[in-house]
Symmetry: C2
């Protein structure tokens, strides 16, 4: 007996096959009954006469079944074929009712959905989101592997806060304090000295005690760092190419999920438009009458939204680089613009008006690190091993970090980051 994935039924018309999966939906129409089965490839229907259906009358959705049947072409069936004359074997019975139906639009509140995510993620729409997450990671790695980058997995338990300022979670490490890495920043820079070009896909932890639709406290960071750059424009060029590769990967390999979610793929122009921070402020004042930006060292979310609109209208682009933020708001390892040292050789990439990526050129000389840390009044001891790498020759380098969930959120037009996160962690949620 051929074992078939439900998405391949049409290739088996005229044969008798076995499919296996979950009962996704049951449609009782009297004369005829449909049992819709879901497996990893999609859904398909089995057609049962009233006599065939009678023993299954009490069956619950999500029951795990193996179904043998004749494959019959049926243009109206999903996938163009369905099973007739079926024999259904119940592999794992279900006795409880679902917290909410998985075969219809999810109508429960977000907290209820998240409470039951262990089963809610089986919903085709949510499954598609998480499969796209895997596609983003795969496209990211493929793009970098092809460019000679090496993957690293750096420690998440660290002896001190990675970047001064941001909040870190404290861990009891055999009676001593340790912290969860809020970024692989220091390690990825160190590894430029080893491999020149590195990337990491892994969790980062932010103990920020605010609750917004764009923040979670543990997320997946797609980190890149590489050496022998000219300046931040070399980094921006790689990022633009990489995003192109990633979007193409999704279009090629995830058309079903993109269709399920009704995604409009973004426009990534070549080159991606860029605007200096000071020009962005001028634009916001002159075109958008946003006089509150004057003298500010950063852009507010509302300003980013306006700039996103401008990039779309003016350049036909869903992406916009804002370069040259004031050094005052950037971490101490940031490389200044040699011509305007109050501004950074760095950038944010806005995607549809939301900050998606932060990156730039870093300092690469030991003396510059010591001076920058001292200028901020930092104790140098926690940085000792990080700084050691710079004693022994580091090339001009830079990199960036993409938030996996932020990217999904903007790509899919979903307004809360929790709904694109496998099992989100926030101030009030540690389960499931």
């Amino acid at each position: 007996m051929t074992r078939a994935l439900v998405s391949t039924l049409q290739q088996h018309v005229g044969q008798r096959v076995t499919i296996a999966g979950w009962i996704h939906a049951i449609r009782r129409l009297g004369d005829v009954n449909f049992v819709v089965v879901r497996d990893r490839s999609g859904t398909a229907q089995a057609v049962l006469t009233p006599a065939e259906f009678a023993p299954l009358d009490a069956i619950q959705p999500e029951t795990v079944v193996r179904i043998e049947g004749d494959v019959v072409a049926e243009p109206k069936a999903p996938g163009g074929a369905e099973l007739h004359r079926v024999a259904i074997e119940i592999v794992t019975p279900v006795t409880e009712s679902l917290p909410f139906p998985l075969s219809k639009k999810v109508k429960v509140t977000q907290p209820t959905f998240l409470d039951h995510a262990v089963v809610g993620l089986r919903h085709l729409r949510h499954r598609a989101i998480m499969r796209l997450a895997s596609g983003v990671m795969r496209g990211f790695r493929a793009g970098l592997d092809a460019r000679d980058f090496v993957e690293v997995q750096t420690p998440k338990l660290v002896a001190s806060a990675t970047e001064s300022g941001a909040s870190v979670f404290k861990v009891d490490y055999f009676g001593q304090p340790a912290y969860l890495a809020q970024s692989p920043q220091f390690y990825k820079q160190i590894m430029v000295g080893v491999f020149e070009r590195v990337y990491e896909v892994g969790p980062v932890f932010r103990a920020e005690s605010h609750s917004t639709i764009r923040h979670i406290n543990e997320y997946v960071s797609l980190d890149v760092e590489f050496g022998f750059i000219e300046n931040h424009f070399t980094v921006m060029a790689l990022l633009a190419e990489l995003l192109q590769t990633m979007l193409e990967h999704l279009t090629t390999n995830h058309s079903a999920e993109l269709a399920e979610l009704g995604v409009t793929m973004p426009q990534l122009t070549t080159p991606v438009p860029h605007i200096h921070f000071t020009d962005a402020q001028k634009l916001l004042i002159e075109r958008f009458k946003a006089s509150d930006v004057l003298g500010e060292p950063d852009l507010a979310p509302e300003h980013e939204r306006l700039l996103g609109t401008w990039a779309k209208d003016e350049h036909g682009s869903d992406f916009l680089f804002v370069t040259g933020y004031p050094m005052a708001k950037r971490p101490f390892y940031t490389h200044p613009d040699p011509d305007r040292p109050d501004y950074a050789n760095g950038f944010d990439l806005l995607f549809r008006g939301l900050e998606l990526v932060t990156g730039g050129q870093r300092l690469h000389r030991y003396d510059d690190y010591v001076a920058a840390a001292q200028a901020r009044g930092y104790d140098l001891r926690p940085f000792e091993t990080y700084f050691e790498a710079f004693k022994y020759g580091m090339p001009p380098h830079g990199g960036f970090a993409i938030g996996l969930e932020r990217l999904l959120m903007q790509l899919l037009g979903i307004d809360n980051i929790r709904m694109v996160t496998l099992f989100p962690r926030d101030m009030s949620r540690l389960t499931p």
Copy 2:
């Protein structure tokens, strides 16, 4: 001017090119001087007359340089070509002496090496180890992607210990206790209900307060879980195929690193031999006079070594499955052998006599979970969301976890796991 990787010089004989990298070694021979440059692709030498060398006399190894020169074929040079008539630009100077030479065999103690790993990892041998680590991960993912598995990234911050018994690190989560996941076990099983087939590559955390050459407290786990299996033999078959794919990936893509490290690739026979736990005990008694195994619920490391020897001698295999360990020593979610319920439908895979992988079939019915947890006297509340997934139909499933560093250690014949870990974490080490 052509920018060339040093490993490609032979393709540029007769041209003038620029290379960029680190000064790996300097050899002063009087009449002629060699400057060996390392970049991500390998090393190559530039040949300097005394006059050309004079201004560089004080140069330190690891200085970052850009060198322009004529490529000349030279059979005695590494890579078959070298640079003549060079112009050397110093990109980043080095003023300090290295903690130990990077161009010779490392002779410092292991703690000294690890203290200076941020620069020590640049050593060609250590760089090769960490590049093989990336190759193992890539081979693992490639093997699973090709078999319809979906990658997941599950939370590392959890509300309770994942598996009862093992030690977990405690985190202060906004004033509440949280823990670092010691395994993605529960999440990967939950995700079988969504994707059928899943994998994860990520950090796991073990607060085990022992110090051995085979244990570290944070390591990279290569996790697999999939549904619709027959029993643990289905899982073992996938594991054997996957290891084959991974080893082939290394042979194909990492011959330089394998040669650098003098690796003898292991023999993976088809099928991989397997022996039941009770038969392994008999064998240890009868052939190896290891009478101390009698009545023990597990195998000691020395017994695993003896079984490894036996597998090699008897079956010509570097791998051996030991199946059917006593249920008493296995976690509560383990599926028992239906014919001998005191023994598990599970396995360990020994690689050259060391436990490399643990895996098996899991329980898949909700009632079995409740009964198994109650039989061990567990409080059911921490398992509530995990168990919810089983209320709603889970197929027979199983999986395994491979420790990345253990695999490297055995593959490379390196006797301390710290030397194959990027930046190891143990009871006395949290830096670099």
